[in-house]
């Protein structure tokens, strides 16, 4: 891999929610002299799509299917448990094709089906527009749950993505995963919120599918409340401490007299009154 490919791959990896096509257009314009570089970026596109839980619609279908390491069958094919189908995914165009039947069978099949139902109920209660999936993974020994919600508003210069995943281990009852939020605002500027929260929970008692949905619901509710609280704390704390809205005197500076502030005894009492 040339150093240019490494750099361009890092640009792909850093694309904000819903803005990959814009980033690719910029890369093309910066590398017009060597159009072949885009072919070298195929692994970067695959990594981006799988890590960001990019969604696609199956030909003729209406629901969203999710691209992730959990739904990967290798060789560019992925599967969707809900529709019990597998499909080919083109990482550079984002299009799904070549749909085949993919029947759920094996040890975790019934847990996957019931988890799709319980998690589906939870997702519909808290996400106005999200895709979700459940997948048997690691040789049919564990079940992964993926949730992704996107909202893109290019006309208002912002976009956002909430993505979470959880891996349930039936042998120990542990549920481990992470929640990541990515918000981009870019009107006359570039502001980015990036968060990462690890989740460690355990499912006990009752039906596993109910416990999985319950633990996810509890963790995500608590996380959103914690995150909202951190906005307030940053605003009231670190942000205020960097720059005051007004001087301690609560008056703007009298610039015609600013030279006398220097000589004057009192620089607004800033240091002494705190």
């Amino acid at each position: 891999m040339s150093s240019n490919t490494a750099i361009l791959s890092s640009f792909v990896e850093g694309a904000p929610p819903g803005e990959l096509a814009d980033v690719i257009a910029d890369i093309k314009a910066l590398t017009v002299s060597e159009p072949s570089v885009l072919e070298d970026l195929a692994p970067a596109f695959q990594k981006y799509n799988e890590e960001q839980f990019i969604t696609a619609k199956l030909p003729g279908g209406s629901s969203q299917v999710i691209i992730s390491e959990f739904s990967s069958l290798g060789e560019g094919r992925y599967f969707d448990s809900e529709s019990q189908s597998s499909f080919e995914f083109d990482h550079s165009t984002g299009k799904a094709s070549g749909v085949q039947s993919f029947v759920l069978e094996g040890e975790q099949a019934s847990l996957v089906k019931s988890t799709l139902s319980t998690v589906g109920t939870y997702v519909k209660e808290h996400y106005p527009n999200a895709a979700y999936g459940a997948y048997a993974i690691e040789n049919d020994t564990k079940v992964a749950v993926v949730i992704v919600a996107n909202k893109y508003s290019p006309n208002n210069f912002w976009s956002g993505r909430w993505r979470s995943f959880y891996v349930y281990d039936p042998s120990s009852g542990s549920l481990e995963g992470s929640i990541k939020v990515d918000v981009h605002y870019y009107e006359d500027g570039n502001v980015r919120l990036l968060t990462d929260k690890k989740v460690n929970a355990s499912v006990s008692g009752g039906r596993a599918a109910d416990g999985i949905a319950r633990e996810i619901s509890t963790a995500e509710k608590k996380y959103q409340e914690d995150l909202n609280r951190s906005f307030t704390q940053l605003s009231e704390g670190a942000f205020k401490a960097l720059r005051r809205q007004l001087p301690v005197t609560r008056q703007k500076i009298e610039w015609d007299k600013v030279a006398s502030y220097r000589l004057g005894q009192d620089i607004g009492g800033g240091a002494s009154r705190r």
Binding site: I7, F11, G14, A15, D22, A25, D26, K28, A29, L30, T31, V32, K124, E125, H126, Y127, A130, K151, W158, G160, W162, I179, V183, Y186, D188, G189, N190, V191, R192, L193, L194, T195, D196, K197, E220, K222, L227, F231, T232, Q233, L234, S235, G237, A238, F239, A241, L242, R243, R244, Q245, P247, I253, W255, D256, V258, A259, R262, I267, G270, A271
Partner: protein, 285 residues
């Protein structure tokens, strides 16, 4: 379709990639497209670096406008560090012109006098608004007036292991003198980085930059009134931008998260709205 101008594409890319690492992205773009180096370095704002003035012991800020080659001019002593090679007569650096800032452009006597006053004034401003931090003002001559940059930087104390913040203000202006009035064109950028973490919160990073412009004609009686005019312009702009940053960093970000996921139940919210609608409907009847 005509291909995009590489410079515009580079700026577009910098507007999309994580603003916390603008300096890295910038050097990466330049390594891919070296022709863009000069134009990008002079138009993309990066976090400011602090240096201590050897003559006065005071801290000052480094930017493209007080740079000559690898040397930077201190606003407090007017000296370059490291000192400029005497052979570079007229202060013109290697291969550079002497127009505008940088390349050893030391302001003329009158403009340097204003620069000294402006540094004193913004030092007061810094203390009143930032209660710490570093400020520097650099002026340079223009054909029909002068131009300058007002720089302010403040970092939160390093002792706090969970929360950190850095604020950089970069205000570039041009003053065109037209008799008893002067036309001021101000372009202001604030770069603000905030980060916090905790066992229950995980990691949260809020970073970015915003740029705003304003143009205004103001009366000028003396060189002192230039300093007062620039002071008011920068003070008003920073107040506006601080409010804007507060709105975007904390309000907008929270709203978007709330648009993605609702803390309350959506079906309950729907029911509540229907009940309210029925109630309003029955009151109208």
């Amino acid at each position: 379709m005509a291909s995009q101008d590489p410079f515009d594409s580079a700026l577009d890319l910098l507007r999309r990639l994580n603003p916390k690492h603008t300096t890295d992205h910038l050097s990466n773009i330049i390594s891919i497209h070296p022709d863009l180096a000069e134009e990008l370095l002079s138009s993309v704002d990066q976090p400011l670096t602090v240096q201590r003035c050897k003559q006065t012991g005071r801290d000052y800020l480094l930017c493209d406008y007080n740079r000559d080659g690898d040397s930077y001019r201190s606003p407090w002593s007017n000296q370059f560090d490291p000192p400029l090679d005497e052979a570079g007569a007229g202060g013109v650096g290697a291969g550079g012109s002497n127009e505008g800032a940088g390349e050893g452009a030391v302001p003329g006597e009158r403009v340097r006098k204003m620069e000294i006053k402006a540094n004193e004034a913004f030092d007061v401003y810094r203390e009143l608004y930032y209660e710490g931090g570093v400020s520097s003002v650099y002026f340079w001559n223009l054909d029909d007036g002068f131009a300058g940059v007002v720089l302010l930087k403040k970092a939160s104390p390093q002792g706090d292991a969970t929360t950190s913040g850095v604020w950089d203000s970069i205000h570039v202006f041009e003053a065109s003198e037209r008799g008893r009035t002067s036309n001021y064109r101000l372009t202001s950028t604030v770069i603000l980085t905030l980060a916090t973490k905790g066992p229950s919160l995980g990691e949260v990073d809020l970073s970015g930059n915003m740029t705003r412009q304003v143009e205004l004609d103001l009366p000028v009686e003396s060189d002192e009134s230039h300093i007062a005019n620039i002071g008011r312009l920068v003070e008003d702009m920073e107040l506006k931008m601080r409010n804007l940053l507060q709105e975007v960093y904390f309000g907008k970000a929270k709203d978007v998260v709330g648009d993605l996921r609702s803390i309350g139940s959506l079906s309950q919210g729907q029911k509540d709205r229907e009940t309210q609608r029925e109630l309003i409907g029955s009151m109208r009847r």
